[in-house]
């Protein structure tokens, strides 16, 4: 039996790496008594596949895994078991049984929506707007080469095609009042609300002057490459000629499938 699970990486889990999330997810599934199916071989692993890795510092509202179970379970009670088996860093959203022929998450998902929230110095809001306009108007956008010691360098790449939409959305408002003061316990901060999500971290700084600007960006995900939201933010800053006082808070609000002119969620049209 194959199950697709939708979950959130909450504010409490913001600083977890993909590996941490994978380990935490496996433990959650085991606590929920999921009858995991294992790979063959000398070092068997449960068959869990993630839609896409989330970077350290980035939360996610609607993330997905497919997990293979050795035998059938009642999906309703399995979902309830997961709800109580997940730690604060993960929040259960939904689960459904998927058919054996369902396209894998990583091959089906080709669109990610991010919300990037940053505290700007007074007067920089217009520069942010100009930056967004600049990025959208650019004919080409070059992602910087990535050089990591001991690893194969990733060459610079033209990524304009991955930027589908950027817009400045409504300022997050009251939730920002205590920027930096929101702690992980508040509401397990399931962080679905974009405003509260961005609030707490990323070094926005408590009591700093200036306004919070939130940007929503839709980025394409192809086998050929992805554009990280942080990289997009740097492009916006460069195009607008400003610098944010602190790194922005980022949440991936959705992972979507765009196909034949229609956009839908990975939970749509796959139930058995």
């Amino acid at each position: 039996m194959k199950v697709r699970i939708c979950f959130s990486k909450t504010e409490a889990g913001r600083y977890l790496s993909h590996l941490d999330i994978a380990r935490t997810m496996e433990r959650g599934l085991r606590r929920a008594k999921a009858p995991l199916a294992f790979s063959e071989g000398f070092n068997p692993h449960p068959k869990i596949s993630f839609a896409s890795a989330l970077a350290v510092g980035v939360t996610g509202c609607r993330e997905y895994i497919d997990v293979e179970l050795a035998y059938r379970v009642d999906i309703g009670s399995f979902g309830r078991a997961l709800e109580s088996a997940f730690p604060a860093a993960l929040a259960f959203v939904a689960a459904l049984e998927i058919g054996p022929g369902t396209r894998s998450l990583s091959s089906a998902i080709n669109l990610a929506v991010y919300r990037i929230s940053a505290r700007l110095s007074a007067g920089d809001e217009e520069k942010a707007a100009a930056g967004v306009a600049g990025v959208l108007a650019a004919g080409e956008l070059w992602r910087k080469p990535k050089l990591k010691p001991g690893k194969k360098p990733i060459p610079a790449k033209e990524v304009r095609g991955l930027v589908r939409r950027i817009e400045i959305v409504e300022e997050a408002g009251a939730a920002w009042a205590g920027a930096g003061g929101l702690n992980a316990d508040s509401a397990g901060a399931i962080a679905v609300g974009a405003g509260s999500d961005g609030a707490s971290s990323g070094g926005a700084g408590s009591g700093g002057a200036g306004r919070i600007v939130a940007i929503e960006a839709e980025l394409g995900m192809t086998a050929g490459g992805q554009l990280q939201p942080r990289e997009l933010w740097e492009m916006i800053c460069a195009a607008g000629g400003f610098e944010a006082a602190a790194p922005p808070a980022i949440c991936r609000t959705a992972l979507l499938i765009r196909q034949d002119g229609k956009t839908f969620s990975p939970m749509e049209g796959v139930a058995v």
């Binding site: 409490a12 433990r27 070092n43 860093a89 920027a179 003061g181 702690n183 070094g203």
Partner: protein
């Protein structure tokens, strides 16, 4: 000011591994501060990943938090990056559960696992805004306590601590917190800190350094069968050093290795029954979701039912692909049989600790391992498919000559030859890989070698270099410990209170994480000792006269000084002493009474009915002090 966790949030993007500072793990216990009478903050003087791997902390977390009237939270040493953020921003050390600052707790307790963590305790006190020196603390400051193996001689730390808990904490700690709570309940004008300390000093196992002439005997459990044990331990998000379920199968070891402090201070041997262990294993599996279980103890193959335990866990957990790890195996065929049972799930290397290269030296330290047995065990392991053997040795042991050191290299080569021979005999390919790890002997308090000075730096370095020269085989990888670190460890392991100001000076000048070789500030330590007019090396190599007063003479950790002395003298004669479980009582004094000589579960004996599970002896029970708490007796001489 509360909610320190909220205050650090804006800075988390600037530090390594921010999750260290956030808590909120699965199974975290978060209590209402108003609903309890005593709030205890446990401090582990190293980073989160090390502290969270420490079984003792999880046991105490359960022992305290299962009581409705008290709570325990955790804190760890912040790494340097976070320490500077906290210092710069004025954010105090806080409990991970509530975010409340350390100074708001009633009691703060540190575990002293090794001497090289002492400066971290001071780092944490400073961040907690609690004065280093016990005598400088005001009436409102939390009570600062410590426990752990270094309580065997905590004199260098004594002036920083209001009380030191000697022995096992799962019953003693809640009892101590009860006394603190009762004291708090008296309200303002409650008689002051001095009266609290006086009450604590009256508790068996509690040492109050500011009281003159106190004699203390460690607290210990008569049996560990029913002791508090974490069946729903915290599950960390980030990878910690020991990221697995821990099942404590037995406590104590009576093999009697003469260098081993743990083998002396945790006596006598007490086992948990197979039934209890199976119940615990199931509960922990369900509450954590871990995929590995470790059967921990000082000597796992010594549990009288270990074979059945391993087979049963293996059979029951194999379907969920949960692997078993069995640290601390003795070098014998039985260990290989055991390991074969567990290897059905995952294959790991084999580790043995012969400790010395020559039979003469192994006899002197009472390490009951024969060369032939080791080699045939290796051959058996290799025939069963293992290709990696790890061997632990020590250099600088009392009476050691260069021939004994050469014998370490010789033994490693023999292991390689035997292993390769077994591989060829089985028609296999490739060779055996042996990793040889050599540490420096550090004399410790409450051991038969407590009187003996450490080998000097020149000697240790010469011996390390000699081994490097000898271990040329491509099959052997050789690693050794830093000699300077071992010297510092020796100084503090046997030092007295006069060293406390040096610890404070070193901490003030930035010494932290001294056990992390790359963090050790040799220059600072050297100048701190020089300015105090003390010769570090002379202190490390100092040999005490057998009749001399030792700084820890007033601390009784179970084994008598007479026994330790007899063992030392036997060592000089090259005589060995058998394990009291098989060779008869050695008269070490750890068993307070005949009644609990040792506690095993062989043959399904009913411990409840043979009276060995009841208490630690005539002086064990202290009526009116914490109900059914079992203490070791207090020795008033």
């Amino acid at each position: 000011m509360a909610d320190c966790k909220g205050r650090i949030r804006p800075f988390l993007g600037q530090v390594e591994k921010p999750q260290r500072y956030l808590g909120d793990e699965f199974n975290q216990v978060k209590k209402d501060w108003g609903a309890v009478k005593c709030r205890f903050l446990f401090g582990f003087p190293d980073v989160y990943e090390v502290g969270m791997s420490h079984l003792g902390m999880h046991i105490l977390y359960e022992a305290v938090n299962r009581r409705p009237d008290m709570l325990m939270e955790r804190c760890f040493s912040p790494w340097k990056d976070m320490e500077s953020v906290m210092t710069r921003e004025g954010i105090p050390l806080y409990g991970l559960e509530s975010g409340e600052p350390a100074e708001a707790f009633d009691c703060v307790g540190f575990t002293l696992q090794h001497e090289m963590s002492y400066t971290n305790v001071l780092q944490m006190l400073k961040l907690a805004r609690i004065p280093y020196w016990a005598e400088e603390r005001g009436e409102d400051a939390p009570l600062v306590i410590a426990g752990g193996p270094c309580a065997a001689n905590a004199e260098p730390m004594a002036p920083f601590l209001d009380a030191i808990v000697a022995g096992e904490g799962e019953e003693l700690l809640p009892a101590l917190l009860e006394v603190v709570a009762a004291h708090n309940a008296k309200g303002p004008g409650r008689g002051g800190r001095v009266s609290l300390l006086r009450d604590l000093a009256a508790m068996p196992g509690v040492y109050v350094p500011s009281m003159k002439g106190q004699k203390v005997r460690k607290a210990r459990l008569g049996s560990i069968e029913g002791a508090a044990y974490p069946l729903a331990p915290l599950v960390p998000y980030i990878e910690v050093v020991h990221d697995r379920m821990m099942l404590e199968i037995l406590r104590g070891c009576t093999r009697g290795c003469r260098f081993c402090q743990a083998g002396m201070i945790y006596r006598p041997v007490r086992e948990r029954s197979k039934d209890t262990l199976m119940k615990q294993a199931r509960a922990i599996k369900e509450s954590t979701g871990h995929r590995e279980i470790s059967l921990t103890s000082l000597s796992s193959s010594d549990h009288t039912c270990i074979g059945d335990i391993v087979r049963e866990i293996s059979a029951e957990f194999a379907g969920e692909r949960i692997s078993i790890s069995l640290p601390s195996l003795r070098a014998n065929h039985f260990s290989v049989d055991l390991a074969n049972e567990i290897r059905k799930v995952r294959k790991t290397g084999f580790t043995f600790a012969p400790e010395a290269g020559s039979q003469r030296m192994r006899d002197a330290i009472n390490k009951g391992v024969e060369e032939e047995a080791l080699l045939s065990t290796v051959m058996k392991a290799v025939s069963a498919g293992w290709r990696q053997i790890k061997l632990y040795f020590m250099i600088g042991l009392p009476g050691e000559t260069m021939e004994d050191v050469d014998a370490i290299a010789g033994l490693c080569e023999k292991v390689v030859r035997s292993g390769n021979q077994a591989i060829r005999a089985a028609g296999g390919k490739g060779g055996l890989r042996v990793s040889c790890s050599v540490s420096n002997f550090v004399p410790k308090a409450q051991t038969p070698f407590q009187w003996i000075g450490q080998a000097g730096q020149e000697e240790l370095k010469a011996k390390q270099a000699r081994l490097k020269e000898l271990m040329k085989s491509r099959h052997i990888s050789y690693s050794y410990h830093d000699a300077f670190t071992s010297m510092l460890e020796a100084v503090f392991a046997r030092g007295g209170r006069e060293l406390a100001p040096l610890l404070a000076a070193a901490a003030n000048r930035g010494c932290r994480f001294d056990s992390w070789t790359e963090e050790l500030r040799r220059d600072v330590w050297q100048s701190v000792f020089a300015e105090a007019g003390l010769d570090m090396e002379a202190l490390a190599v100092k040999t005490y006269d057998l009749d001399a007063a030792l700084p820890w003479d007033h601390l009784d950790h179970g084994v008598s000084k007479g026994y330790l002395r007899r063992e030392y003298e036997k060592s000089l004669r090259g005589e060995t002493t058998g394990d009291c479980r098989y060779a008869g009582c050695t008269g070490c004094g750890a068993c307070a009474a005949e009644a609990d000589a040792y506690d095993t579960w062989a043959g399904g004996r009913d411990i409840e009915t043979d009276g060995r599970d009841t208490e630690t002896g005539a002086a064990g029970r202290q009526p009116g002090k914490g109900g059914n708490v079992l203490f070791g007796e207090a020795v008033d001489q």
